[in-house]
């Protein structure tokens, strides 16, 4: 089965490139030889019906799948000229360079400040931690809401604020690439809108790969969209094309809501 692939890299090149990636959970194949390049400082959305493997693919990009027992990844994921699955690559280092925001807000049971400071602290950050926490919270558009209560528990924040805190926490380790796994799926429409605006702003500095269930969201925030179905990459191209003029019949069926 051929893939329709219409993404041309600009002069900046690719932030990350998957080459023939397959993922197995035990005997079950979740991803089947997917290849795609993520252009730098762009937002790439992964869409597809539940169980199509979009989260699994995302978790290959920072070796999160290593933590799943029985998971096995084949193929290469190239990042800055290195294969992330090379035996001499340390997955801990990979995860520090490639940040991840999860589906449900998952702040640590600590203060707002300590949540943001956790990453820098474990990575032996030498510098002004207060400044870094403030910058990260500003980048995540949360500073104005929490600057007078940094010592309070992160659990006292609303769901949307917690998710922005998780984004600030990810940004505090200064990743080069940010992976987002349905970051707004547990949030109300207003909080979702704030996250979307934030993603739009973060694009200035970061490359973002986002998994989403919500096709309108993919259409609003992404530059490129990849459609996955049953573990295979069906179509990958500019978001406009995918949503208005897809070339694959299954892509059209999915984006027009005929299945999924």
């Amino acid at each position: 089965m051929a893939t329709t692939y219409d993404v041309r890299l600009g002069p900046e090149g690719a932030a990350l490139e998957a080459k023939n990636v397959s993922v197995f959970y035990g005997d079950k194949q979740a991803i089947d030889t997917v290849s795609l390049a993520v252009p730098k400082k762009q937002v790439v959305a992964l869409i597809g019906p539940s169980g199509c493997g979009k989260s699994t693919l995302l978790r290959c990009f920072n070796r999160m799948n290593d933590l799943v027992k029985g998971a096995r990844v084949e193929g290469d994921v190239e990042f800055r000229g290195q294969n992330l699955y090379d035996p001499n690559i340390d997955p801990v280092e990979v995860r520090r360079r490639i940040g991840m925001v999860f589906q449900k807000p998952n702040p640590f049971p600590k203060s707002i400040y300590d949540n943001v400071a956790f990453g820098p602290r474990i990575n032996r950050f030498e510098g002004n931690l207060d400044d870094l926490v403030e910058t990260s919270l500003r980048q995540a558009a949360l500073w104005d809401e929490v600057n007078d209560r940094l010592g309070e528990s992160a659990y006292a924040l609303s769901g949307g604020q917690q998710q922005r805190l998780c984004i600030a926490r990810t940004l505090a380790v200064k990743p080069e690439l940010v992976l987002m796994d349905e970051p707004a799926s547990a949030l109300d429409p207003i909080a979702t809108q704030r996250i979307e605006e934030l993603i739009y702003e973060l694009k200035e500095e970061y490359t973002i790969v986002i998994v989403t269930h919500n096709m309108q969201q993919a259409a609003r925030i992404s530059d490129y969209t990849a459609f996955l179905y049953m573990g295979k990459l069906i179509e990958y191209g500019p978001t406009d094309t995918i949503f208005t003029n897809p070339r694959e019949e299954r892509t059209e069926a999915y984006v027009t809501g005929r299945f999924g």
Partner: protein
């Protein structure tokens, strides 16, 4: 509105009354079961306090055992119990928590870890006298620790370790996987995830399990008799190799004597033992709450 639906309370059938009666009977039975426990404990407490409070004074706390009831005291047994308690806690707690961390966070899914898991669960149910025999054979004889505080503490450590390991594993497993993912996702090493996120969150549960296990250890007699705790002793332990006795043994010793005065002493000893248990639990609750509020 049409009158098709009856009003609330109207036409309550016999069947309806029957199932309500069943509910009421069940509630009464549950209440009675609770009352049996609470009342018998209350009766026991009142009885013990009535018998023992007269003998419970400063002399009792500071005197050693004696064959004259008016001169006999609990000092040696209390000191022995406290020694055993602290030694057992300091041996069993770190070993058990480390084992639980290993099993939950490091060990793979293979048959070896399953076998270890099954064994630990079974060990938690082994009668304490069996640990006593092991302690006698291994600590007292093979390692040559003799009939000493350290032999007793090591034996009790073996006894409580399975319980603490299982409780710790459950506490560790109860830490949401989202927290692990968040920490790993920020580039934390396994040790950083364990030490900075998982352990602090699991600590209240680990401490509850530890205290329950230690409470059991404080009341043990059988394994300590096996490793040679003595019933009649006139000094407190000064070091790990000294002989010792513990509260339950001293109490048993007094109860088995014919004179009534000794029975009053036994009751006073029980009060001391209960006080020790309650203060252990209080310490645990304080520590646990401190951990919770930090979160």
């Amino acid at each position: 509105m049409t009158a098709q639906h009856p009003a609330i309370g109207e036409g309550r059938s016999a069947l309806d009354r029957k199932r309500r009666a069943k509910g009421a009977v069940f509630a009464v039975l549950c209440g009675a079961a609770t009352a049996v426990g609470v009342l018998s404990l209350a009766v026991l407490l009142v009885d013990v306090v009535a018998d023992g409070i007269g003998s419970l004074d400063a002399d009792f706390m500071t005197s050693f055992a004696s064959r004259f009831p008016e001169r006999a005291g609990i000092k040696a047994a209390l000191a022995g119990s406290v020694w055993i308690l602290f030694l057992t806690a300091s041996i069993a707690f770190p070993l058990s928590v480390a084992a639980a961390i290993y099993l939950e966070e490091y060990a793979g899914e293979g048959w070896i870890s399953r076998a270890i898991q099954t064994n630990i669960a079974n060990l938690a149910g082994v009668p304490s006298i069996v640990y006593g025999i092991l302690g006698l054979a291994f600590f007292v004889r093979t390692l040559g620790f003799d009939r000493s505080v350290i032999s007793g503490a090591l034996t009790l450590s073996l006894l409580v370790m399975p319980v603490i390991i299982i409780a710790s594993q459950e506490a560790i497993r109860a830490v949401p996987s989202t927290i692990r993912e968040a920490a790993y996702g920020l580039g934390a090493t396994r040790w950083q995830v364990v030490s900075r996120q998982i352990l602090p969150m699991a600590m209240p549960g680990i401490m509850t399990g530890t205290i329950l296990a230690l409470s059991r250890a404080v009341g043990e007699t059988a394994p300590l008799i096996m490793v040679g705790a003595v019933g009649f002793i006139a000094f407190t332990p000064d070091g790990l190799r000294d002989p010792f006795t513990v509260l339950p043994l001293q109490i048993y010793n007094w109860v088995s004597r014919p004179q009534d005065e000794f029975r009053a002493l036994a009751a006073a000893g029980i009060i001391v033992l209960l006080a020790l248990l309650l203060s252990m639990n209080a310490v645990a609750i304080v520590l646990r709450n401190r951990y919770r509020t930090r979160i």
